[in-house]
Each structure stands twice: as structure tokens, then as C-alpha cells.
Symmetry: C2
Subunit: 250 residues, 2 copies
């Protein structure tokens, strides 16, 4: 594992509400567990939502790439490692490694976050007590590689599902839970693909927060066999809340 | 605890995706963990969905009463006990006790299940190998009390939310996940009630299964201050999928 005292490691078992009809963990369920590990990590090191609240700043997830090697089965024990992986200009990086207890890789994820000023709703520069963590982070070459550059945008809608943001879709911060973006983006993919293929790669770019009672559209375009563009769109103000790209195993 | 070798006990910690803005576990999240414990219990004793599949029978939840004393906080360790609590004619009973690790009661739940013949979709009489478990179940007087009788029906709609059943709303058996019935029934309750009061009692009656692409309405009527009738309705065939009653602490 990486060389940092900021590493957080936790064991989980795949629960019944996390699996599909093939008894494999779903990708939204896997992303929820990664978020859970990240939250425990920031609580542990004193950089959580609640630690930052008095400073009027908050972490916002802006991009996440998830590479899936194999989806684990019901009751399978899995282990998640996560750590802050350095700063890139105003952005903070975080990595996730998901593996079996024997060390077989299951999934990896590189994520990018920014600090938002909760009064102005604008990007905030990381204050000194946040930047000070940089010294304790692992060397760059031990961290996961990242894909930069723009995501391809959806140009036509092959499949669509509609959503309203309900009370239980909100996170503790009263915004649409960011793991539901992933779930809602995958839902419109044809059921035969969801049931029979496995998602191999997901790249998601978060652009705006969803609020209670928002009416949203989740749109999907098949750009080549086994590869899709996705977006979550809010017709009321024409905003794109998130874009994504997925690639599926044949 | 009750006197039976069929008892299953498991410890959990409240996760970030299980809490609301008050940092308290939501009732849908609590009901999901109870279902999880029930599934592990039937796997352990050899009566799970997968054990019954070759016999063309399956468990169907028909009613559940949940009494909530206190909702636990983020990261709070909780313990769930569950066991089969006897037969009542063709119905099988199951109890849940949720408590802190020091034994402080958090919630209790009495549930009722029936066996369905998966070929005819009708109620099946429990076969001998299922009835044989009766000898190992706890004495009736150790089990939770149950409320029988009809649930009051919703007569007018004060609040409504609409849903479509999407892929990730299905359980491993390809039906609308029964814990989502509870979530969807609570969503239309005014946000001020959801945010500031605590659900004290829920009584839900399951009547029909939800399928992929179903359009459903979740309707709520306030029958007296702090008490509501709920139903999930499918306009396409006029079916009520579930009725419920909730009472909230002032």
C-alpha cells in the first residue's frame, strides 16, 4: 500500500440490498461504500464536512473515475483502502483501492474534489491547515493515474428516464446524494446490458447540485457498442448536473 | 434474548448514506438493515430464497410493524437480533430487536410472511421441512406482540409523489425492493415533519409486487396531527401495492 499515515482501510461484506439478480454487487452500491470509506477517512484526520463547517468551506466531488475488474458476490468480504492523494492547483485528489481480503483487485477509483465557500457558493482556495496535509500524503508515483481532459458530451438521447428528487434522495448536507447520480445515470441503459454485461469503466463529472423537488432527466446515448455517454439534465433551468462516460465488458 | 437456536445476531455501524441532515439514521435505512439480518438468518438456517427455489416456493413479506424508540446517530454501533417466531395458520412470523451494544432498545419489529408458489403465484402451504422448524422456535410468550386487523384505508390524498420503478430499485428477485415501499411512502410527508419529528410507529401491509417500469403513486393523508395513512397505487391496473399507517413523535 501507499506510504502515508493518512491511509484508511476498512473491511465490508456485500449485503443483500447491494446485489442484482446475478447476485453481484451493483456499481452504485460499490460507489456508496467508497464514499463511506472516504467520509470515515476525513472524520479520522479531522477534515470532514463537520470539521470544515466552522470555516465556511465544504468538500465538493467534481470528478470520479471508477475502473471495475470484477464485481463481488453476495456476502463476499471486500476491503477498501482510501487516502488523500495530493493537491492539483485548487483541487484535492483522493484514491480508492477495492480488493478481496487476499489482495485480489476488484476496483480502483481516482477522484477529484474542490473546496467550496459555503457563503459565496464559489471555489475556495484551500486554507493553510488543509494544505498542511500535503506533507503527509503519499508520493505522487504511488497514487493512481488520472485521466484529464473533457468528457465527450451527449449529442442525442437513445434512452431516458425521469426523476424527481425526493426527501430520501438527499444526503446529510441536503443535496442529491452524489452516489445517486451514478445510479440514475445507469438506470436507462437497456436492462439486457445491465443484467448481462459488467460495467468496466465509469468516468463522471459533477457540475451542479440537485435540490429537493428538482425534476431531472437521465439521458443516455450509445456511442459505440458497449460504450455510452450519459448526462443528468434539469429542464427547469437548462442545467447539466453531471456528465458521464461508461464502457461495458462484452 | 429468546430461547431458540434459530436466533441471528449481528452488529452494524450507522453509515453516512443512512443518515439525514440531523445525522440520525433514517427509518428506510433501519428497515434495510433488518431485512439484511433476516436474509442472513434464513441463509444460516437453510430457508433462504435460494434454498426454497428448487421447491418452487418463495417467502413474501405481507406485513411489518416497526416501533421506533430512538433513531441512532452516524457511526453509532447497533445490534440487531432476529428469529423466526412461529407459524400462524399459513403465515410465518419473524421478530426483530434493534438495540445498542449496551442493550438500550432502539426499535422493535414484528413481521409476517407467507410462502408463495412461484409457478401459480398463489399462497402455498408450508411443506413439512419448513413446518419442522416450528419445534426449534421460541415459545410464543417470548416473542413480540402483534397487531392484527385491517389497516385504516386512505380516503383522500393530501400529499403525493410519483415514481417509476427503475432498474436499481429492483431486488435480487427482480421485484421492487420491499424496503423502497417504506422509503417511497414516507417521501411525500411534509419536509418539516420528516426533518423535525421522529417516526414512532409504522404499520405496513404489502399487497402486490412492483415490476420494472411500473408507474406508481405514493399518496399520503394526514388523519390527525402526527398520524398519516399511506398507500402506493398503480394507476395502470388500479392496484394498491401497499397500505401503511404512521405515527410521529411531537
Amino acid at each position: 500500500m501507499v506510504d502515508t499515515d493518512l491511509l484508511y482501510t476498512q473491511d465490508y461484506r456485500v449485503r443483500a440490498y447491494e446485489i442484482d439478480a446475478q447476485q453481484r454487487m451493483t456499481v452504485p452500491a460499490l460507489s456508496r461504500l467508497m464514499q463511506e470509506a472516504a467520509l470515515q477517512n476525513v472524520i479520522q484526520i479531522g477534515m470532514s464536512y463537520w470539521d470544515l463547517e466552522p470555516h465556511h468551506i465544504s468538500w465538493v466531488l467534481t470528478r470520479q473515475q471508477i475502473e471495475v475488474k470484477r464485481l463481488p458476490d453476495l456476502n463476499e468480504p471486500i476491503r477498501i483502502h482510501t487516502y488523500p492523494a495530493g493537491f492539483l492547483r485548487a483541487f484535492a485528489l483522493r484514491d480508492f483501492w477495492v480488493e478481496t481480503q487476499e489482495g485480489e483487485p476488484i476496483a480502483q477509483s481516482a477522484s477529484t474534489w474542490l473546496l467550496m465557500d459555503t457563503r459565496t457558493r464559489r471555489m475556495a482556495n484551500p486554507p493553510d491547515f488543509v494544505l498542511a496535509f500535503n506533507e503527509r500524503m503519499p508520493p505522487r508515483e504511488q497514487c493512481l493515474p488520472r485521466i484529464s481532459g473533457q468528457l465527450e458530451k451527449l449529442k442525442a438521447t437513445d434512452y431516458q428516464e425521469d426523476y424527481t428528487v425526493h426527501w430520501h434522495d438527499l444526503d446529510f448536507n441536503q443535496h442529491l446524494n452524489n452516489t445517486l447520480y451514478i445510479q440514475w445515470m445507469l438506470d436507462p441503459v437497456p436492462a439486457a446490458v445491465l443484467a448481462e454485461r459488467q460495467l468496466a469503466f465509469l468516468d463522471i463529472e459533477y457540475r451542479a447540485e440537485g435540490q429537493l423537488a428538482d425534476a431531472l432527466q437521465s439521458e443516455v446515448q450509445e456511442i459505440e457498442p458497449g460504450a455510452y455517454c450519459h448526462r443528468i439534465f434539469r429542464p427547469a433551468d437548462g442545467k447539466v448536473l453531471a456528465n458521464a462516460y461508461t464502457r461495458w465488458q462484452y
